[in-house]
């Protein structure tokens, strides 16, 4: 009988022993080494052991009886010191064993981030029973806190299990969405939402700086300054093949032990199986290919022919209630097309990736019933051109079904606020409908929903339609773009009602039909999110038009215009010298504008950071002449100089501009202040125009002097400058919170009615609340974009990535 020695009693080598013994129980005299003081158990079921849903005994694959019955000599808890391949012996701590055939099944070990404090007690991995026991013990303390580093499969299973044990759990993940190797951002968003619903805190783009504590791990500090007190730290950031013993024994290794398709190493009679092997440059972490390897190796050892081949893999997460599936390749490569399906009502997201009439990848969240069918199509390379139209609905829907455009509203809970003006929730409207209010007029009369500014009319009609079914004929509204059936007003209202705070959230919860929007909806959604959630949402430059991304106006020849701010149209000799010098240095054409400032035209993109730096040095900031935001406040010289001037119109203009600059609005906003009714600053065709009179200030709004020409309408007459500023600010904030993207104030006021605007702003408390919300937004957005981009790191982005013409000249 030949002597077989196996090093490592893990899942792969365990499967190998089963296959060998089943095929030929008398073929080998087997000795099994294991550094852990126990035999083979189902390591992937450690999560339920950690959560307490299973006991360790339940996940043991091979117990003492099994090893005894099959005459396997077990040397558990004994480390292998070395292997002498010349003499063909394995040297254990307790003595040598000779072999005819040797199998490495040394598996892998957890990768530990080498940050300061990584070696403190209380920092564990999630690989074996010892780690699991340490975490279980930490969870026993009431109110205990855990920090899990790593938002991949293993980390999330650990986090969910610790949460089930009652711990406060925070997951830190370095990437911008969870499980980025298996999921796309949309599915990652839903997973995060599910985990947060069960009380787990998830911090994305979180970089661990250090773990600190007095003799044990007590706090994790992040690079951004966040401090997380904790009782235990679980590092689940990845695994590394355990190959030191093989390397020391002279077995050929790359990133792991190199094997051929028969699982042979380059050394005669030495084999390897499991997570410690490298095959054609690939490493292995999931169980399915390991079992394939075990099967192949059993045949090889028994002298039969068999070949190991890579195959497509699918992933499922073992967290109860998180239903996700991913398979194939869904990220890389040109020539691919997406099919996206979202059902917000049921929290479902599905994305199929198609290449040359074949399905190559699938990601699903919420409903994974068809996962294996899709996986089959991927593995078999089935031609799907015939069923392409209905493919995403799975095998049972091959007849075809359509997405319900009302699903976003159907999904709203009763407490979701539909009418923001009057605080009317969906439940109130449904109750009114059930009580007999079956059209819009009756709903307005009974609930006041949509009776004020009217922007929620579309949503109220959808609630009518969802509740009444065919009895209510829904008027057609113009959707934002081809990505959705919802009009702007509905999207804005739903962002508030459902507290949607990211683009991913909007796309998923409102049933977007595209993967990540288009050039029409992306800038609008980006504005709505930053206007509604200034502290929670981060502005996305990639969802902005070129001018707002580059903070300059692109011209027809691809150069840019640069316009520094001149507060209230006032400037100084020093500023003019700096502007003149910049114009000369960068070869710009100089133009005086209608907004009382100076435009420098024809600046090259590469020169933008440099010209900004020069203008910043002279004390000037961006004039935002390129934004949907505050442009200028035009003024006349007022009582300072003019013999007719009644008030300090220049001073008020400067104060207004200093208050409002930097704010983003649905469309551009221009102001003017005239010092007397002669109106030299042309205030009566602006978005907000103020005319100074002896008794105070006449504030008027909603003028236009572009494609349409329209005189402003009087909003209010006030006595003091402070009141004029307060009313102006509140008006602009109301416009920011309610208007459709790309509606100038005059268009928005025409829709909601000036009377409604007056009514809201006349309420002292509401007016002050609007100003407060504006100030909060300004705390984030009133920053000079030029200064930020003139910094060397940011300025680099304005240069070409590479210049291959220089290389070619060599």
């Amino acid at each position: 009988m030949q002597k077989l020695v196996v090093i490592g009693a893990g899942m792969a080598s365990g499967r190998l022993l089963e296959q060998l013994i089943d095929a030929d129980p008398g073929a080998f005299e087997i000795t099994l080494f294991n550094a852990e003081p126990r035999g083979n158990y189902n390591r992937i079921m450690l999560s339920p052991v950690l959560s307490g849903e299973k006991s360790f005994e339940e996940i043991v694959t091979h117990d003492d009886d099994w090893y005894a019955t099959n005459k396997v000599t077990c040397r558990f808890g004994e480390k292998v010191l070395s292997v002498d391949t010349a003499r063909k012996v394995v040297v254990g701590e307790k003595g040598e064993v000779a072999y005819d055939k040797l199998v490495f099944g040394t598996g892998s070990s957890a990768f530990i981030i080498p940050c300061p404090g990584h070696d403190l007690p209380g920092v564990v991995a999630f690989r074996d029973l010892e780690d699991t026991t340490a975490m279980t013990e930490a969870a026993a303390k009431p109110g205990a806190r855990a920090v899990v580093i790593g938002g991949g499969l293993l980390g999330l299973e650990a986090a969910a299990a610790l949460r089930l044990r009652g711990m406060e759990v925070t997951v830190l993940h370095i990437a911008s969405h969870l499980m980025e190797r298996q999921l796309d951002p949309a599915a990652g968003y839903l997973l995060k939402k599910d985990l947060e619903r069960r009380g787990i805190t998830v911090l994305l783009e979180a970089s661990t700086k250090e773990i600190v504590g007095n003799g044990k791990a007590e706090q994790v500090n992040l690079a951004d300054g966040t401090e997380l007190p904790c009782d235990i730290v679980c590092m689940a950031v990845g695994i590394r093949p355990a190959v030191k013993l093989a390397q020391n024994s002279g077995i050929a290794c790359g990133r792991a032990i190199k094997v051929d398709a028969q699982m042979r190493t380059e050394t005669p009679d030495v084999y390897a199986v499991g997570e410690c092997v490298e095959f054609e440059g690939n490493l292995f972490g999931l169980v399915a290919p390991l079992y394939d390897q075990a099967k192949v190796l059993a045949k090889t050892l028994l002298g039969q022919e068999e070949t190991f081949a890579m195959r497509e893999l699918s992933t499922k997460l073992k967290v109860t209630g998180c239903d996700l599936f991913s398979a194939g390749d869904f990220a890389d490569g040109p020539g691919r097309e997406d099919i996206v399906y979202r059902d917000p009502a049921r929290g479902i997201y599905k994305r199929l990736v198609i290449e040359e009439d074949k399905l190559v990848g699938a990601v699903m969240y919420g409903d994974t019933a068809d996962g294996n069918w899709f996986f089959g199509l991927i593995k078999d390379g089935t031609d799907i051109s015939e069923m392409r139209e209905t493919l995403i609905f799975g095998p049972s829907y091959q007849g075809g079904a359509s997405v319900d455009p009302l699903s976003a509203v159907a999904a709203l809970p009763p407490e979701a606020e539909i009418c923001g003006c009057n605080g009317v929730c969906k439940g109130d409207i449904v109750a009114a409908i059930e009580a007999g209010a079956t059209d819009l007029g009756a709903i307005k009369a009974t609930t006041k929903a949509s009776a004020s500014c009217g922007t929620c009319t579309g949503l109220v009609e959808q609630v009518l339609s969802v509740t009444l079914g065919d009895e209510f004929v829904l008027p057609t509204a113009q959707p934002v773009c081809g990505c959705t059936d919802l009009p702007h007003e509905d999207v804005r209202r739903l962002i508030k009602a459902q507290e949607l705070k990211s683009q991913e959230a909007v796309w998923q919860e409102l049933g977007w039909k595209s993967r990540n929007g288009c050039h029409v909806c992306r800038p609008a959604i980006n504005f709505y999110l930053l206007a509604d959630w200034p502290l929670d949402y981060t502005d996305d430059p990639q969802s902005r038009f070129v001018n707002e991304r580059n903070h300059a106006n692109i011209q027809k020849d691809g150069t840019y215009s640069v316009m520094p701010r001149m507060w209230g149209g006032m400037t100084s000799p020093q500023e003019l010298i700096a502007i003149a010098q910049a114009a000369e240095k960068y070869g710009a054409t100089v133009k005086v504008t209608g907004g009382q400032r100076i435009d420098l035209l024809g600046v090259k993109k590469e020169d933008l950071p440099a010209i900004w730096y020069d203008l910043n040095e002279a004390g000037m900031v961006s004039g935002h002449a390129y934004t949907k935001g505050l442009r200028t406040v035009k003024t006349c010289v007022g009582s300072d100089w003019c013999r007719f001037g009644t008030q300090d119109s220049t001073g008020l203009g400067i104060k207004l501009e200093k208050k409002l600059w930097g704010s983003w609005t649905p469309h551009k906003v221009k102001l003017a202040v005239s010092g007397c009714p002669r109106n030299c600053a042309e205030a009566t065709c602006k978005d907000v125009g103020i005319i100074c009179v002896d008794s105070g200030y006449q504030v008027s709004v909603a003028g236009a002097a572009g494609m349409d020409v329209k005189e402003t309408e009087r909003l209010v007459d006030v006595r003091t400058e402070e009141e004029a500023i307060e009313w102006t600010t509140a008006f602009i904030q109301l416009y920011r919170e309610h208007a459709k993207y790309l509606d100038r104030p005059y268009k928005w006021v025409a829709k909601v009615g000036l009377d409604w605007v007056k009514e809201v702003l006349a309420d002292d408390a509401e007016r002050q609340a609007l100003v407060e919300r504006f100030d909060i937004s300004q705390s984030v957005y009133q920053k000079d974009p030029w200064a930020e981009r003139a910094e060397p790191e940011a300025a680099r982005r304005f240069q070409p990535l590479a210049d291959l013409t220089l290389k070619a000249a060599e």
Partner: protein
Amino acid sequence: MSWIDIGHIDDVPLRGARLVKTEVGCVAIFRTDEAEVFAASNTCPHRQGPLSEGIVHGQKVTCPLHNWVFDLNTGEAQGADEGRITTYPVRLEDGRILLDGEAVSTRSAA
């Protein structure tokens, strides 16, 4: 083909683009996903708008000047607009962006 390393994937913003100067003119490198890049001519055939400054969505880009939309796989203009931009072979390897040097060189074209 001769692959030239032109930079790291993270040098290109997600759903954004960067320029590469070549002998055949400016080439835009578009990053449409975490690990998905395309290379195409930077110049819109309509009024020569710089496509690297456009909004990137799905596997398409919208020209910043007049909203022409191009499919980055084929270079074809979408919808009613007619035109095409040249696309170039590009690939990713361990986070590095590799552009085919021959395709963007005047010598190979001769």
